[in-house]
Structure formats: structure tokens, C-alpha cells
Symmetry: C2
Amino acid sequence: MLSTLPQKRSPGRPREFDRDSALKAAMLVFWRYGYEGASLADLTEAMEISKPTLYAAFGDKETLLREALHMYLGLHAEAYTTALNLPTVKQIAEAWLRLVGGVREEAAVPSGCFVVQGALVGSKASRVIQDELASIRNEATQKLEQRFARAKQEGGLPGTWEPGPLAQYLSALASGLAVQSSGGVPPEVLNQAVDQVMANWPK
Amino acid sequence: MLSTLPQKRSPGRPREFDRDSALKAAMLVFWRYGYEGASLADLTEAMEISKPTLYAAFGDKETLLREALHMYLGLHAEAYTTALNLPTVKQIAEAWLRLVGGVREEAAVPSGCFVVQGALVGSKASRVIQDELASIRNEATQKLEQRFARAKQEGGLPGTWEPGPLAQYLSALASGLAVQSSGGVPPEVLNQAVDQVMANWPK
DNA sequence: AGGTTATTTTCCACATCGGTACAAAAATAA
DNA sequence: TTATTTTTGTACCGATGTGGAAAATAACCT
């Protein structure tokens, strides 16, 4: 019998570029310039492919963005899940702020958060994308809220917090940290602010 | 004799539109769609003037945005000043969050904050505007920090807060509230979050 | 080798972008 | 009246935007 290889080559001319690394390049461009701010010229240059090649491999710009967004989310999904599974609400809050706030040291990626600055506003033509990113933000907030609802049952929330408002508060703060980061506020400054948020965390 | 009116008319055809209300219309368009998301077609339609008229009266798009931004800031300047002059840090924080967070009921204006969503990211061509808005955000943070430094001298800050991080924290949270608002999160929800932030404010 | 299939390149289509030249229109000044 | 000044609408500019058609190319399979 013939061994079922991991991937069997499909007939036809093999592509000359690595689809995944091209997609990653596109993701970084969208991340930095936003959906409408990223032109096809920016994208093709970073992806090192020609325009029709991009078109053939990824479809139109909107589809490409969705795939890039999916990759972005996938790259961070593990960290999110880990954060949500931390034992205490305080630990979750801190992990969330450091993560979503985009407060990290890696200089290889753009500052800020794809989901925040990818299409916060824009022309009517990109309304669908704007709504999609807003939905993702809302879903994240809901995940937080559900986790905090569990925490409330299991032993209470800090201070006088309720799950919903606490989730909204953390989501907003995280988005705001991303805004500041995107605007050039250095990570140390933002980290220092988060430090003191945690230091003043209610019992 | 003819009465010397407050302003004597200059020769030439008088303009047929009100410059100030046209500028206000432009401000609302920039606020809603952002700098690059707002096309000249959007602007001229809302301002109810033709493209050459816009050019003669306001210069290019970038100059128009600056003037619209100036109007936006002017409309809120009084509220900012009032907030900064409140007696306690807690009162300042609450006023700031309600104001800058864009958590207000007026349905006549777009949601979110001009300074946040006007040009958070975008093409390289609009980098100047992006930086300008980021500067305005930073200046606001500095104003807060200076006020908190004064408060520290006069009697201490709540919890273990220091002026710099506290200012950064509030700025970020306000920007984040604006992001959430821009994404369609209803004002009541955001106000509820702010309510609990204040309820858990450290002594 | 021949045939098939997919990719790549060259060139192009068409809308929209910000920005303007021009002359008619409407007011004041002489 | 005539001249001057300023605004206004029409029509247009080059550049860039996204999106594609069609032919050339390069692998695979028999």
C-alpha cells in the first residue's frame, strides 16, 4: 500500500511563495495601517507578491483582511485562554491588561491592537469590517463577564464589582491601553500604570 | 448719513453659506468617519457646498480637518477646565471619564471621541494627522498629571497612586470608553462601568 | 513526450481620490 | 454706467484605488 504522506502535492505549477508567511506579512500591514489605510501596494510590497497573485491566492482585500485577522486572533488565542483560566479575578485582570493592552516588548510587531485600530472608524464602504471588529471586542467582553460570573458564584468578586461592569471596565481599559500604545506611549509607561492599577486593586 | 455697521461689507459677491455651520458639519463628518474615511464627497454633501467652494473657504482637506478639530476641542474646552478644577481627585476622575469617554446621551453627535478615532492609524500620507491627535491625547494626560501632582502636595492621592501613572490610567480608560462607545456599546452600559469604578475608588 | 492544471506575469478597466481652471454671477467702488 | 472683486457651478486633471482578463510559464500525471 502507498503511504499516506502528510501532504500530497496537487497537480499544476507549484506556487513560488509561502502562503503563510505572506499572510503574516499582510497581517502586520493591516495591523499597522488599518484596513483602509493599507493599500494593495503596501500589501503586495510586504508580501512580496504581485497584485494578481494576491488576488488569486487570497481573493479580494476584504477576504484577505479576514484571514489576516483570523491569524492574528489565532496567535493570541492561547494567551487569552490561559488568562481566563487563572485562579483569581485579580490575576485575570492583570493578565488581560498586559495582553490585550498590547503592552509587550516585542519590537517586531506594530504597537497597539489589531482589533482596536484595524477599523475603528472609516468610510461607509468598510462598515462591515468595522462592525466585525466591534463584535470581536464585544465577544471578548462577554467571555470576561462569564468568567467573572463564575468567580462570583465561587467566592465573590473584589470590592463591590459585578461581572458585567467589571468586564466592561477591563475591556475598555485594555482598548485604551492599546490606543495609547498605538499613539507612541512607551510600554514602560503603560506597564507602570497597570502596576498601580493592580496595586490599588480592591480586596 | 449712513450708520457705520459693525462690519462693513467687502466688495465682491457675498458667500451664500454660513462658514461656521459648514465647519460644524465638516467636524461631524470627520468625527464619524475619521480623517481618511471622510471623502471630499462626504464633506461637501454634509456642508452643502461645492468642492471649489470648500477649497476657497477652507484650503485643503488637512487644513479643514485642523479647523474642525479646533472647533471640536473648543466645544469641549470649558468642560475639561471645569473638570480639572474640581476639588477632589475622585471628582476629577469621574468627570474626566464621563466627558472624554464620550459617554453622553446626545444622539445628535457621533459616538466616541474625535481625538481617538479621528486618525488612530491610517496610510503613511496621514501620518502627520495621526501624530497630531496623539500629541493632543498626550497633552491631556499631562494636564491631568500636573493637576494630580498639585493634589499630591495638597493632601495626598488616593490609594498608592502617583500622579504620572494615575493620569496615564485615566487617559487610557477614557480612550477605551470612547472605543467601546464608537463600537456601539450603549452609554448606559459604559456609565454603569464608570459607576462601579467610582464605587471601588481607593481612599 | 503530451496533456492537464495551477500559478505567474503583463496589461488593462474603471471608479474614486484630492485638487483646480475657468468663466458666469453677484455684489461693491469708481 | 463701467470696472473691480469675490463667490459659485461645471467640467476636468493626474494619481491612485481596487479589481480582472488573458497569455505565458512551470510543475504534475500518464
